[in-house]
């Protein structure tokens, strides 16, 4: 596992090279979300990003997905600058992104269908994926007939079924209960382990971040968020996401990150409220 | 003069047509003003529309087909003509050049496709009348409405119709293009008499009967103005007329227009009076072709009121 301080070796799954992002705001100076930020995510690395709300985590994922063009710097994917959309990435959006005109099953099957897989096989594999996320019986429901957590899980199946080489996940387990979260976390780790996938995972749940990741990145409160923490999670793998929380090292890490994060959020709050 | 009504709304269906030339002359020469009238000329999509406006009360007087006064009797609407403007219907039956050998008379129209300006219009009835007189049924040929503008020319050019019953300027244009051969021509005295045995009133000035009763002086003034126009036309050379009408009426070709004027000059009424023979001819045209008239007793005397022309003749010397 590459350490946070070592220079990254071999091809980089994603390299943010001085990426800066600012939004134009009408009648005001632009709003700088990300101050120039450099960050490398090695292939096979599972990296979590935490930070106060509104600091720019989703924005960073949007940049990695090629949906937002950085105002400065550039994004390298496996060493090559990202030309436009990042077609190798699978992105689970923070918002609902299911197609409301397709049933859960159709939504999950769509990525396979467009890849040219016959409809019958696509449906079969999609049904299997619905089972994995605990929704085997909900295949014929339209999104508006599902609960928030169910929609999120359909979205997850939709992204994962393609088996993309880079996974961008924006609070994927937000609307799930703790138990389901663990089940989904285990599912994600199983999928990821040994496949050479890189994962960039945004969450507000620090325990989850530590339990799943190789590395936890801490962003400062915005505007002009900077990378203020880069923690190597040197816990053994394979992990059981429930049991690992009992290890003393887990608590050390948690405490270290948490105290830094707490200060950051307090600052952000004070600043924004001003 | 103390006219009952100085501002007159007048309706016409296609003002630039030579059919309505006296109206344009009266307007351009200022004859209405001389009579103390302020006339607004409303141009309608067709003669039928101007009649509807008269019935509806949005216009006071119409220059339109005499036939309308007859038709309105069957509808219980009292309409009276006071002045004849044209004495030949001006309708021409022509066949496409390549049919000229086959079709020598109306009897040969059997089974042909005939273009008319609109279904039910005077051009339609005219063609039917010719067929009936030639011993055919009214539905022995099929009739196609081709409109009255460039679309009529297009229909002939495309070869979609084999014969056409229409008016100037469509006929003039087709003749100039050498696209048709004229079979029956009621633009001339001889042609009209050959068909009807008499003249047959075309455009007239008509008003609602009760309007005439309530506004005799206004009616007189209108009659006078148009009568003056008729007299002026009777004396004018075609070139004078061409110069008098707005340039826009020239069909983009002054010489052609002058030629058309010359061809039509004889069709304008000389007296303004609709002769009884003409009234009968018009009535016969309708009764032979339209089932609706079969059982109706037409009162021809009510369709024309000659008092105003008579006075006009005295007033306008």
């Amino acid at each position: 596992m590459p350490s946070a301080t070592e220079a990254p070796q071999g091809p980089l799954a994603v390299h943010f090279d001085g990426v800066r992002l600012a939004f134009p705001v009408k009648n005001k100076p632009e709003y700088e979300v990300l101050a120039p930020l450099t960050l490398s995510v090695a292939p096979q690395q599972f990296i979590s990003i935490v930070g106060p709300t509104g600091c720019g985590k989703s924005t960073l994922l949007n940049v990695a997905a090629g949906l937002l063009k950085p105002t400065g710097g550039r994004v390298l994917i496996d060493g090559a600058p990202l030309p436009g959309l990042n077609r190798g990435a699978g992105y689970l959006f923070q918002q609902d992104a299911l197609m409301p005109w397709k049933t859960a099953l159709q939504n999950v099957a769509v990525p396979l269908e467009i890849a040219g897989i016959p409809a019958a096989e696509a449906a079969e594999r999609a049904q299997a994926w619905l089972g994995k996320v605990g929704l085997a019986r909900f295949g014929d429901r339209y999104p508006h007939q599902l609960s928030g957590g169910q929609r999120k899980r359909v979205g997850m199946a939709q992204v994962l079924i393609r088996d993309p080489q880079l996974l961008l996940m924006d609070e994927p387990f937000g609307p799930l209960d703790a138990q389901t979260r663990q089940i989904m976390g285990t599912l994600l780790l199983d999928l990821w382990a040994g496949t050479g996938k890189a994962v960039i995972f945004v969450t507000h749940d620090l325990e989850e971040a530590i339990a799943l990741s190789d590395r936890v990145i801490l962003l400062s409160a915005g505007p002009s968020a900077r990378l203020i923490g880069d923690y190597d999670i040197d816990l053994p793998r394979p992990r059981n996401t429930a049991d690992i929380r009992l290890l003393p090292r887990f608590h050390e890490l948690h405490h270290a990150i948490w105290s830094q994060l707490r200060g950051e959020v307090a600052k952000a709050y004070a600043e924004q409220a001003a | 003069q103390d006219l009952e009504k100085k501002n007159i709304e007048l309706g016409v269906g296609g003002k630039p047509l030579l059919y309505y030339l006296p109206l344009t002359i009266a307007e351009q020469k200022g004859f209405f003003k001389e009579e103390g009238l302020t006339v607004t000329i409303n141009d309608f999509g067709g003669g039928a529309k101007s009649l509807q406006s008269l019935i509806g009360g949005s216009v006071d007087a119409v220059t339109g087909a005499y036939e309308h006064t007859l038709r309105m009797q069957t509808k219980g609407q009292a309409i009276t003509a006071v002045l004849e403007l044209g004495r030949f219907p001006g309708i021409v039956l022509a066949v496409r050049k390549d049919q000229a050998d086959k079709v020598k008379s109306a009897a040969d129209l059997k089974g042909m496709i005939i273009g008319v300006s609109a279904p039910g219009s005077s051009t339609h009835i005219f063609a039917q009348y010719l067929m009936v007189k030639a011993g055919l049924a009214t539905d022995a040929a099929s009739f196609v409405g081709v409109g009255s503008g460039a679309s009529a020319v297009a229909a002939m050019q495309k070869g979609e119709i084999q014969a056409i019953s229409h008016l100037d300027p469509v006929i003039a244009k087709l003749e100039a293009d050498k696209a048709v051969k004229v079979l029956v021509d009621t633009r001339t005295l001889e042609g009209t008499q050959a068909v009807f045995g008499a003249t047959n009133p075309a455009a007239v000035l008509y008003l609602k009967s009760d309007f005439i009763a309530k506004n005799p002086k206004t009616t007189q003034a209108l009659t006078n103005a148009l009568y003056k126009a008729l007299m002026w036309i009777a004396k004018a050379a075609p070139e004078d007329i061409t110069e008098t009408v707005p340039q826009d009426y020239w069909l983009g070709d002054k010489a052609l227009y002058t030629q058309a004027v010359a061809a039509n000059l004889a069709s304008y009424s000389r007296t303004g009076v609709i002769p009884e023979s003409g009234q009968k001819a018009a009535a016969e045209l309708l009764t032979t072709t339209d089932a609706e008239f079969k059982n109706v007793k037409l009162d021809l005397a009510k369709t024309f009121d000659g008092r105003f022309v008579a006075k006009a003749r005295e007033a306008v010397k």
Partner: protein, 260 residues
């Protein structure tokens, strides 16, 4: 919401009220004048009799068939063109920007004036009428589909693209279903306009069709005939619209039921 039966009853009630007003207006004078003089409005009894006669003698069928054919063709071709161009332009902003003023102009040209040109190019048969209808339907559908495509939810669109959809697949899986309700809204308007195109076309020059009949009746001031023609026309447009509504229901099953 009421049951279908009582809804129908209410609809019929409204229709009867309308007919009563018409009948009274046309036959009972108010003081001196008739509210709806029968020269202009005929009266419902006469119109009904005429309609019955039209069907009894069978003369209407030929005309109805011609108009039906023209309407349906105008509707299908116009909607097809409107939908395709709407999609195409919405996906090619530069193209749309360049042609925008020309489309606005074309939309505003009075079709009646263009009739001779249609006749020159397409003859007197059904196609010149279809063309007239197409020029009406096209624009109504086009503007709506164009806007509908642009209204697509940007998150769903981004998701589709990241799931690997190419332009064609985006069209099929995202733009098309997303623009559907826009499209159908315009189709409901278009049904009427397709018919108007056909009728006006026949009105300007034809040898058959409801427009021809109406024009003929108008030429001889047969108001009853005019209204009878329009009644036939109306019942017939209700049919076409019902088909559109049925297709719409089929295609939009996924929508949440209407709130409130």
């Amino acid at each position: 919401m009421k049951s279908p039966v009582s809804l129908l009853a209410l609809q019929i009630l409204v229709g009867l009220g309308f007919l009563t007003v018409w009948y009274l207006g046309a036959t009972v004078p108010l003081g001196e004048v008739y509210l709806l003089p029968s020269f202009f409005f005929s009266d419902p009894v006469a119109v009904a009799q005429r309609v019955v006669r039209m069907f009894a003698t069978g003369m209407i069928w030929r005309h109805l068939w011609v108009t039906l054919l023209e309407t349906v063709l105008a509707f299908i071709i116009g909607a097809g063109l409107g939908i395709s161009l709407g999609f195409w332009f919405a996906r090619k902003p530069l193209l749309a920007a360049v042609f925008d003023p020309y489309i606005t102009i074309a939309n505003s040209l009075p079709r009646v004036v263009l009739a001779p040109i249609f006749m020159l190019w397409l003859g007197l048969g059904i196609w010149s009428k279809v063309a007239l209808g197409v020029t009406l339907v096209f624009f109504i559908v086009f503007f709506n589909v164009y806007q509908g495509v642009k209204e697509v939810n940007p998150v769903i669109l981004a998701n589709g693209r990241l799931l690997g959809m190419n332009e064609r697949q985006l069209l099929r899986h995202i733009y098309w279903p997303s623009a559907l309700s826009w499209m159908f809204s315009s189709l409901h308007t278009s049904v009427g306009f397709a018919l108007i195109g056909a009728v006006v076309g026949e009105y300007l020059g034809a040898s058959a069709g409801l427009g021809y009949l109406i024009h003929q009746a108008e030429g001889v001031f047969d108001t009853t005939g005019v209204f009878a023609g329009m009644v036939v026309l109306a019942s017939f447009v209700l049919m076409v619209d019902a088909i559109v509504t049925r297709v719409e229901r089929r295609l939009l099953v996924w929508r949440p039921p209407n709130p409130s």
